[in-house]
């Protein structure tokens, strides 16, 4: 095999599974180490550079990092990365002085940002300190987008959200509330240097079944995201005793739990397919089931039942599925029907983009699904100077994706306003920093800790439903923090090998607790893997292959999949051919694009 080029910035980045999986590439192990040192403010600021809303995301992030976590490949449970992010936010000291500032004077460039959600706020966060005059237009009376309207306050307290939005507004960003943009053409005629659209995917899907539009029925059937918004803005304050939620994604989980807080007594989530096909995150399902929500599988909605001008229930077809070995449904059949009584139905079966306010002649091309044609790198639409990000760009994703879209769009807007090529972006880089402090001493906690994942404490069930905004999760206790930070394997502290120093004594191979090293004759990848004790290949995990070793011309190989980053190979190496070095992955944002490449 060709020797591995560890100078490729992606090589070590990939080894840091959590950071690689995070759309915004948050340096997770680095901030967990700061938390371990009690440097909550620094941990918060480090988070903020990548993901802008650590307080929000520490509660409600979709956490693509956690399924990727190396710890999850070792035992069942990954590090509670998201919970630790919240620790940084909850315990941070006053860091106002360390936040980016409103510049002394602006650069005269005016940017219109449509929709006050995470994507627009990220663009403003990146551009305002550089001197851009950013104006955010919002149709509602409060900023935040779905973070405010769709995420219930019992998961995300209003105060946490407002604090993080305010510190961006404090950078000199103008926010125009109750100001829906009704015509793109009219906006474009105004004096804007660039326009960013971050309006989300605001249209919840409807379910046009028999009885849907009958009088007395139609008002009892709610579109999930609209209903959550109406609850958030206190237009809706009650719901019937028996509620059915159709759909089993994360919106459905928010709808069912919100229903309980508005007075529902019996809430059922109706799923068309078996559990393994649920779209909701595992932890959101668990949280709902903890509140005694019943999730019924294999029920396909058929009709709404009404009597005397009143919704009385819903008819479902009972489904049976044939599932093959790969987990795919190969066949389905209806085995019967059942009617389930209800007072209200909430539809949470997906959402679409909608741009009724973008005229056909605005020069912004929409595809056949009415989604704008957007460049995946620059986020520019087919009209120069108009950018899209968040759910409005490529359909519904999540907050952390919206943040990353915002970062990328901000780079593009910066380049656009300077008249530079949008594609001339700084590539990622990696800096290596030594971690050796002395004999068997590293500046990270390298010893393996076999503690299990800490469980988040919740408010007691009896106290949870009195008010809509009682935050359910209590945050980690100091003991939980101390234990959980040690579970992190510090995957960003890399095992760096210098073949010319190796004297082939096998010490590293023998000490490795997961037997991920081997020295062998060079061969093709399959053969090299066969020389390892566990030769199973995990998708996305590379095999490190060194240059030929000086004494025997064999190669050192390392399976990046199972390495614990415990540093024992480096401690055991008599010649320091193995060293532990911190890989600092440099992810560039708008503020450092003007550096020399």
């Amino acid at each position: 095999m060709k020797p591995t080029n560890t100078r490729n910035p992606d090589y070590y980045h990939k080894v840091v599974d959590c950071q690689w999986a995070c759309p915004a590439h948050t340096p997770v192990p680095q901030y967990i180490r700061l938390i371990a040192q009690g440097r909550y403010g620094d941990a918060y600021l480090l988070n903020r550079e990548s993901n802008v809303f650590p307080g929000v995301l520490g509660r409600v992030c979709d956490r693509p990092c956690e399924p990727a976590c190396r710890r999850g490949r070792l035992e069942d449970e990954p590090v509670a990365i998201c919970r630790l992010k919240r620790v940084a936010a909850d315990h941070r000291e006053d860091i106002t002085d360390k936040l980016p500032k409103k510049p002394a004077k602006t650069n005269g460039k005016k940017i219109a940002l449509i929709g006050a959600g995470p994507a627009s706020f990220t663009v403003a966060n990146d551009l305002a300190p550089l001197g851009y005059e950013c104006t955010i237009f919002e149709k509602l009376s409060e900023p935040g987008g779905l973070m405010r309207s769709n995420i219930p306050a019992f998961r995300l307290p209003e105060k946490v959200l407002s604090e993080e939005l305010d510190c961006i507004l404090d950078m000199g960003v103008e926010l125009k509330l109750n100001s829906p943009i009704e015509s793109m053409s009219a906006l474009l005629e105004q004096d804007w240097d660039a326009v960013f659209v971050g309006t989300g995917a605001p249209r919840g899907k409807d379910l046009n079944l028999e009885g849907r539009w009958e009088d007395g029925v139609k008002d009892k059937i709610h579109i999930g995201i609209d209903w959550l918004e109406s609850v958030a803005f206190e237009h809706t304050k009650a719901i019937g005793k028996k509620v059915l939620i159709i759909g089993v994604g994360n919106t459905a989980m928010d709808c069912c739990r919100t229903s309980l807080r508005l007075g529902a007594k019996n809430v059922k989530v109706m799923a068309r397919k078996p559990r393994q096909f649920f779209k909701a995150s595992v932890w959101e399902l668990e949280d709902a089931e903890e509140e005694n929500i019943e999730i019924m599988i294999n029920h396909s909605p058929k009709a709404f039942v009404h009597k005397d001008g009143k919704l009385t229930g819903m008819v479902f077809e009972l489904m049976q599925y044939e599932i093959d070995d790969t987990g795919r449904i190969t066949d389905q059949k209806v085995t019967g029907e059942t009617t389930i009584p209800c007072d209200d139905v909430i539809l949470a079966i997906g959402q679409d983009n909608a741009f009724p306010w973008i005229e056909d002649d605005a020069g912004i091309e929409l595809d056949k699904w009415q989604v704008p044609v957007v460049d995946e790198t620059t986020f520019e639409s087919t009209r120069k100077g108009v950018f899209f990000g968040g759910d409005s760009a490529f359909g519904p994703k999540n907050i952390i994706w919206a943040v990353e879209h915002g970062h990328q769009a901000a780079i593009s807007i910066h380049k656009h306003c300077q008249g530079k090529m949008l594609t001339g972006r700084l590539p990622n880089e990696v800096d290596m920093a030594p971690t050796k402090m002395g004999m068997f001493e590293w500046r990270y906690s390298n010893s393996y800790d076999d503690a299990e994942r800490r469980q988040m404490n919740h408010v007691e069930l009896t106290k949870r439903f009195a008010e809509l905004d009682v935050e359910v999760e209590l945050g980690f206790t100091p003991e939980q923090i101390a234990t959980e930070v040690e579970r992190c394997l510090n995957c960003d502290i890399q095992t760096v090998f210098e073949p010319s120093l190796c004297e082939e004594c096998d010490a590293c191979i023998d000490i490795c607790p997961v037997e991920c090293l081997s020295m062998t004759e060079d061969a093709d990848e399959a053969e090299l893997r066969a020389s390892l004790s566990v030769s199973e290949k995990i998708e996305g995990q590379d095999l490190y292959v060194s240059d030929a070793l000086p004494l025997t011309k064999r190669v050192m190989i390392k399976d990046e999949n199972v390495c614990l980053h415990c540093g024992l190979c480096a401690e055991r190496c008599p010649t320091a051919a193995w060293d532990m070095q911190e890989a600092l992955i440099q992810i560039h944002h708008a503020d450092d694009q003007d550096k020399e490449m």
Partner: protein, 351 residues
């Protein structure tokens, strides 16, 4: 000294042996030897060999003397029996233990100092008695534990770390073993575990005394230019001449081998040692050929390794001495100790 321990981690899909144990179940305490010591590689190879042979750790016995090498019995098979004996006296203690229970698997670990100076007498007599054990002689040419004086295995002309030249001829444990009747004689190198692990397995399954003289460099006191037991020197002159694999009875393939290519040797347990990489019709069952081969390779500085001699037909100590077949701990007390009257009767027979 070390300040760290190797964590015990159960991984998914970890390979297990026939007993359902994983490789790490054959580890011991954390090694306190210098980082890079050849002995650690030998220790790891022994652990792997026991793992691959699916020997229950509590059915194994580790015996050793004094020295860096003799410390290593603590670093593998944490759940087996073992004793660190007085300097150079390991063979006697092992002989006694085997007399008491010959059903266990015995491995002796010693070094060139322990075996070739203070323990030389014990070492040769264990070999001539053909005690059924595998004797690992971890050979680094120096007294590492006392900071690098030449041992009796140091080659003539090789230098100590500070430049002193050794003028005494070495005692070669392999030649010695051939001379006094050991029935399994091998040389190996800690840096080549592809050769070493199968060799240890074969040695453990051989009935009678097995000697593996392992070149095992001392990184602290004998890994410099001028040393003939350094990693660099050994890799340079290393010649893996005879490769031995142990094939258990259950996995034997009854096939005809091309002569000179693979040579099968039947063992007492029904298993087989197959020999590969044989040069020029070399036959490791021929003691004279082995002695010649050693002499020739010595002329050219070449370090010839592998299973150099094997005699599977020779009786072991237990058989020669017509000792009790049952382990002593399985014999009822009354039978083991028939009483004063029986003793008197026995003594009468000698008068």
């Amino acid at each position: 000294m070390t300040s760290f321990t190797k964590p015990l981690i159960r991984r998914r899909n970890e390979p297990t042996n026939e007993l359902g144990l994983v490789r790490a179940d054959y580890d011991g305490a954390m090694s306190t030897l210098c980082a890079g010591c050849g002995h650690d590689a030998v220790t790891a190879s022994m652990a792997r060999a026991f793992f691959e042979l699916s020997i229950e750790p509590h059915r194994a016995v580790k015996v050793s003397g004094i020295g860096c090498s003799s410390k290593t019995t603590a670093y593998f098979l944490r759940e087996s029996h073992g004793i660190n004996t007085v300097h150079g006296r390991m063979p006697s203690v092992a002989t006694g233990a085997i007399a008491a229970n010959h059903e266990l698997t015995y491995i002796g670990v010693s070094g060139d100092g322990d075996s070739l100076s203070i323990g030389l007498g014990q070492f040769v007599h264990a070999m001539r008695r053909n005690v059924n054990m595998l004797y690992m002689l971890e050979n680094n040419g120096v007294y590492g534990l006392t900071k690098g004086q030449f041992s009796a295995a140091a080659d003539m002309g090789s230098t100590a770390k500070k430049g002193a030249v050794n003028e005494l001829p070495p005692i070669d444990p392999v030649s010695l073993a051939l001379a006094v009747g050991a029935t399994f004689v091998a040389r190996a190198f800690s840096g080549d575990r592809e050769q070493l692990v199968p060799l240890i397995k074969a040695g453990l399954k051989h009935k009678g005394f097995g000697l593996i003289d392992v070149i095992s460099p001392c990184v602290s006191f004998n890994d410099h230019k001028g040393s003939t037991k350094s990693y660099e020197h050994t890799y340079k002159y290393y010649n893996p001449a005879v490769h031995a694999d142990y094939v258990p009875p259950s996995k034997q393939i009854k096939a005809a081998y091309d002569a000179g290519d693979i040579m099968p040797i039947e063992l007492h347990d029904g298993g087989q040692i197959t020999l590969r990489k044989l040069e020029n019709g070399y036959d490791p069952r021929d003691r004279a050929a082995a002695v010649n081969k050693l002499f020739e390779s010595g002329q050219s500085n070449e370090i010839i390794t592998g299973l150099l001699y094997i005699d599977e037909d020779h009786k072991d100590m237990h058989e020669m001495a017509r000792m009790e077949d049952r382990p002593l701990n399985e014999i009822p007390y009354a039978e083991l100790n028939p009483g004063a009257a029986k003793l008197k009767e026995l003594q009468k027979g000698f008068r």
